[in-house]
Structures are given as C-alpha cells and as structure tokens.
C-alpha cells in the first residue's frame, strides 16, 4: 500500500471534498471531524513522501499502468500521466500540508456557521488537493487541469463574503485574470504538443530544440505563471484577493501562489533547462526587484490591515524571484553563489509561508474580536490581546528580515548570493526590507499600541494554538536554520540546480 502514497495524498482530499456536502447533511460535527481527519491524513502522506524523496531520491508513480514504475510504453515514449516527485515537489507538498494543518482547525472555528460553511470547507479541501496535484504531477496538461482546480476553488473562496460588496469584486477580477493565465498556459501546452506530439514534461524536456515555436511557448508559459504567481506588474489581483478572502483560507491562497511559482521554476529549470537563456533569468530578477519595491511602497500607504498584510505578502514573492532568478542567471557556469541564492530563494518559500500565514491568522483574530480591520478604527488592542500582539510583532519582524527570526536566515542567503552577481540587486532588496520594517512598525503601532481599547469577545483557544504553532516555527527556523537548510532546503534546491538529468533519467530511463 505504501507504494501508492503520492496519489493517495491527492485522491483522499478529493474524496474528502466530494463527501463533505453529504456528511454535512447528516451531522455538522461529523463533517468537521471528517475534514480534520482528511487533512491529518494528507499531512502524514506528504511527510512520508518528503522523507522518502529526501533520503532515496525521485519517486515516480505512473497512473493506470500495470506497474507503478512502468513509465514507458513499448517503443520508448511515455503515454500515461505520471506523478514525478523530486525534492522541490516534496518541499512544496510539505509546505502545503503544514499550512493546511494549521489552517483547517482555525477555519472550523473562524467561518460563520451558516449555509456556506460546508461549501467553504469543501472548497478548502479541493484547493489543497489541487495544490498537491500541481506540485506532484509530471505532465503538462495535468498541471493545467490542477491549475484550474486551484483557480476556481480559490476564487470561490475569495467570494465567500457575498454580503459585502468588496468580496465579489475581488473575486471577479481574480477569476478573470486566473482564467486568462490558465488559457495561455493551455495554449503553450498546445504549441508544444503540436511540435512534439507529447505532453510528458520529461519527454518534452529531452526533445526541445529551441525552435521558434518552443520559444513562443516559453513566453506564454512565463506570462501565464508570472500572473498566477503575482509578479510585479501583474500582481494587481493579489492584494484584492488576499485582503478579501476569509483569513483562515488566506493561508491556502498563499500556498497557491507559491505553487504557481514552483510551476515557473519547473518550467524554467526542468523543461527549458536544456536551452539555457540568461535573458529569462534577468527578467525574473528584474520583476522580482520590481515586485518587492512596488509592494513595499504600496503597503506603506494602506489603511486596511488585511490589505497591508496582503501587500507585505506580495513583496515576499519578489525575494523568492530574486533568489531563484540569480540562480537561473548563473545556471550556465554553476558558480557557488548561484546555488547559495537559489537555496535562499527556496528557503524563503518556507519562511514566507509560515510568516505570512501567521500574519493572516493575526488579522483574522483581530477581525474576529473587533469586527473591523480598518487601521483608523483599531488601536490599543495590545492590552486585551497580548498573545495576538506578540505573534503579530514576531511575524512582522520576520517578514522585514530582522535577526534572529527566520526571515533573516533566508534573506541573508539571498543577499549574499545576489551581491556576487551585482551589488545593486542587494541594495534594492535591503531597501525593500527596510521599507517593510517601517510598514510593520506602523501597522503594529496602529493596531496594538495606544490607549487601551475594549475587546468585545475573547480569542478562542484554537486560534491561539494555530498561531502558536506558526510562531514556534518562526523561532525555530530562525534559531537553527542550518538544520532545515541541510535537511529540507538543500535537496529541493539541488533538484533545481542539478536535478534535471536525474529527473529525465527517472522518467525516461538510462
């Protein structure tokens, strides 16, 4: 049975999602228990997969074949869909499982108990399944299908609060841009299919010749995935979406963005790794810098706490893009600093997930108690909610990259790596960090400091538990970064840096 773990990690949340509406008709408590059980199971599965992949190498699973490892049809080409889990995929799976484990207990308490709660839980499970499907798949069209699953589930969650006028608006904008990006992805897949008659990622990676159509497909892939990952001039949907989604589900939305970024790395490093192009790397670096600066500036003038945090989250995307982009620029010679920056970028994905997740949970707790997120009306919550204030402070400092929190650990790798490429990059990144520090000082001051304010209702214990898990994670990752860097991040970064040959060999043999 353990041979089927990767597909179980995807199929079980799907089954869970399908079953939730049925169970909700029976009993509400049963539904909640079922959702928690499914998420626990998924967490166990992704953990197992990660351990297996980090210790024993790639895990290939062919769906529907006579044997799970029978990748090739007679004739030497792959015909079936397969899951290919390498270090990077397993890493993304771990992030998704971790955040889902934190988000679901929070969500069970946070969502108002009405008609929509069952549906929102269903959508959460399906979003989780879609994220894992995107992370584990080794087939381009399958990637598109799960991209659409995540798009639709995420947008339906964004529109959850239909009684406000802002949520449907954000959801419509996000949905339009998401579907646009999905369609362009499909167009790129169609171009590649037309050229090579195959859909398997590894096979296409081996066959790519760099013709006009190949490069056109690369451009379409890039545009589509940059949009989905909220890179700079096409990030406009992100603050709307992050700001309007119910706080508990914002965590899954963050992972959704990151997994799109993962798809971008997969396309650039594995699919087009054979046709190395520094221009694309520089584009990623430039857009990363633009993203972090623009988002930090915009965060400076926000008056809505959720939207402010959302801009902070967008600016973190820029750091990941900078780190991995530096790795991409230097991929040809493979110098040491490239790997360092790459490790920093990949490590920052984990840190960003935890940090931004904690921030969104704090925003949710504030909204739960006060019913508003407007900084002009908030203030003085630190007296009534000291735990929330502490968590917000920790997360804000981590996001701004202050030692000894986890944000600094990954950012210093990015700084050091990019400094060797060009000091200007580091200067801009540090500037953005300083801006972010200012932003979060302002947010903390506005929400938690000041004259003592009334706190109408207490924060439930589940909220504090979820937040405590993430806060401890922040501290641990910051204090003993080397452990995680060696154990988790380095295999993932190596999978991008040198793992292309292994990936192709695992699928195509020889």
């Amino acid at each position: 049975m353990s041979a089927h773990i990767p597909i179980l990690a995807i199929a079980v949340p799907l089954l869970g999602g399908f079953a939730v509406p049925l169970l909700a008709k029976l009993h509400k408590g049963l539904r909640d228990a079922w959702a928690l059980l499914v998420v626990l199971f998924v967490g166990a599965c992704v953990g197992y997969v990660a351990v297996h992949v980090f210790t024993q190498g790639l895990w290939v699973y062919v769906l529907g074949a006579r044997h799970p490892q029978e990748t090739l049809a007679p004739g030497g080409f792959p015909i079936r869909i397969m899951l290919v889990v390498d270090g990077m995929s397993a890493f993304m799976g771990v992030i998704a499982g971790l955040l889902a484990l934190v988000a679901f207990p929070f969500a069970l308490r946070f969502l108002p108990e009405e008609e929509g709660k069952s549906l929102a839980l269903t959508l959460g499970l399906l979003l989780l399944a879609g994220i894992l499907g995107m992370a584990y798949t080794g087939d381009l069209f399958n990637f598109f299908v799960f991209l659409e699953v995540t798009s639709i589930a995420a947008c339906a969650l964004i529109g959850f609060r239909t009684w406000t006028s802002r949520a449907p608006e954000a959801a419509f904008k996000t949905m339009l841009l998401y579907s646009l990006s999905g369609l362009l992805f499909l167009l790129a897949v169609a171009f590649l299919y037309g050229e090579y008659g195959a859909l398997n990622l590894a096979y296409l990676a081996r066959e790519l010749r760099g013709t006009f159509v190949d490069r056109l497909a690369l451009g379409l892939f890039l545009a589509a995935l940059l949009m989905k990952a909220a890179a700079a001039p096409v990030h406009f949907w992100a603050p709307d979406a992050y700001g309007e989604v119910p706080a508990a589900k914002a965590l899954l939305l963050v992972v959704n963005t990151q997994v799109s970024l993962y798809g971008l790395w997969r396309v650039l490093f594995t699919l087009y790794g054979g046709l190395w192009d520094a221009g694309v790397g520089w584009l990623v670096v430039a857009l990363g810098l633009l993203t972090m600066v623009v988002a930090a500036f915009m965060a400076l003038v926000q008056t809505d706490l959720g939207r402010l945090v959302a801009y902070g989250a967008v600016s973190q995307i820029g750091y990941m893009m900078l780190g991995v982009g530096v790795g991409l620029v230097s991929l040809a010679g493979r110098p040491e600093y490239g790997l360092v920056a790459l490790k920093g970028g990949v490590f920052h994905m984990l840190n960003d997930a935890l940090t931004v997740g904690l921030l969104f949970l704090c925003v949710g707790a504030v909204e739960w108690t006060k019913g508003t997120r407007d900084l002009r009306e908030l203030g003085g919550l630190g007296h009534g909610l000291p735990e929330v204030a502490l968590c917000f402070l920790l997360a804000g400092l981590a996001l701004a990259g202050l030692p000894p929190l986890n944000g600094f650990a990954s950012k210093i790798l990015i700084y050091q790596g990019s400094f060797r490429l060009s000091p200007i990059l580091t200067a801009v990144a540090v500037l953005a960090s300083i801006l972010l520090l200012a932003v979060f000082a302002r947010a903390f001051q506005g929400a938690f400091l000041g004259p003592k304010a009334e706190v109408p209702n207490r924060v439930p214990g589940v909220f504090l538990l979820s937040m405590a898990v993430l806060a401890v994670g922040l501290l641990v990752l910051g204090l003993v970064p080397g452990f995680f860097l060696e154990g988790v991040v380095t295999p993932a970064a190596e999978a991008l840096w040198r793992g292309r040959a292994l990936y192709l060999a695992a699928v195509l043999g020889g």
């Binding site: 089927h4 399908f18 509406p21 049925l22 008709k25 529907g64 006579r66 044997h67």
Partner: protein
C-alpha cells in the same frame, strides 16, 4: 410559456433523457460519453426549467447536489478500484466479467459488454455532469427570486 411549448417539453423531456442515457451508455462505442450525455440530460432539465418556471424544480436542489457528490465519490472510488495495480488501472477490461469481453483489433460493429471500468466511469461522470450543470442553471434561475423584480 404557452400550452404548446409545455406539451412539447413534456414530450421531449423523457426522449432527451433517454437519448442522454444512450449517449452515456454507448460512450465507448460511438461518439459521446459521460460529459456529452450528462450535458444533454442537463439541457433537458434546463428545458423543463424554462418551460415550467424555476419554482417547479425548487425543491430538487438538495437532490441535485447530493447526486453530484455521489457521482464524484463514485468516480474516485472507481479510481481506487485499480489500487491493487495502480490508481485508475482498468482492472475489468478483458476479465470476462462485467464489461469484460475482449475486442478484436480493427473495425467492428461494436459490442456493449466491453471496455472494463469505462462504462461505469461514464455513468459516474454522466450523473455528476447532469447534476452539476442542472444545479448551476437552477441556482442562476432561482437567484433573487420572483419578488425582487
């Protein structure tokens, strides 16, 4: 809608459903399959909706959503059926059991009792698409109600 439209809709409803059933059932022999047949049947539902008004189907919403969940669950369970080999393996094809008759290579008139799990999956997807698309149209028609115009 007038009596003319209603009578024709009454007559066409079972015909369209039977046709949808045919399209689903013969998915592995002729063009069609779960999606197409489900779409045909859902269109029949939409026809009833427009001819008789949405209030006619108001109490069917829960049924449709339950049917959709059941269809989805059935599809995943059919995928789990192959778990002895791999997920989604077609274990019934060529097994001489249900839908298990082997097929010779080349053009032939077609035999219903073939293709393993495919007809079962077709039915699961067909019910799912029927319920899902019918629910979408119904929800759109019911939104806002009669009183807010």
């Amino acid at each position: 809608m007038t009596v003319v439209v209603r009578t024709i809709a009454r007559l066409l409803f079972p015909v369209a459903l039977a046709f949808g059933g045919y399209v689903i059932m013969h998915g592995h022999l002729t063009p069609g399959g779960g999606f197409q047949g489900g779409a045909v049947a859902a269109s029949a539902l939409a026809m009833v909706l427009v001819a008789f008004g949405p209030s006619r189907l108001k109490d069917k919403k829960g049924l449709l959503s339950a049917l959709e969940s059941l269809g989805g669950t059935a599809f995943v369970v059919l995928g789990f059926l192959g778990l002895g080999v791999t997920f989604f393996a077609n274990v019934l094809a060529g097994s001489h059991g249900l839908f298990g008759r082997p097929v010779p290579y080349g053009p032939n008139p077609g035999d219903l009792n073939t293709a393993g799990t495919l007809p079962l999956m077709n039915w699961a997807v067909g019910f799912k698409v029927l319920a899902g698309l019918g629910a979408v149209v119904l929800l759109f028609a019911l939104f806002g109600g009669e009183d807010d115009r």
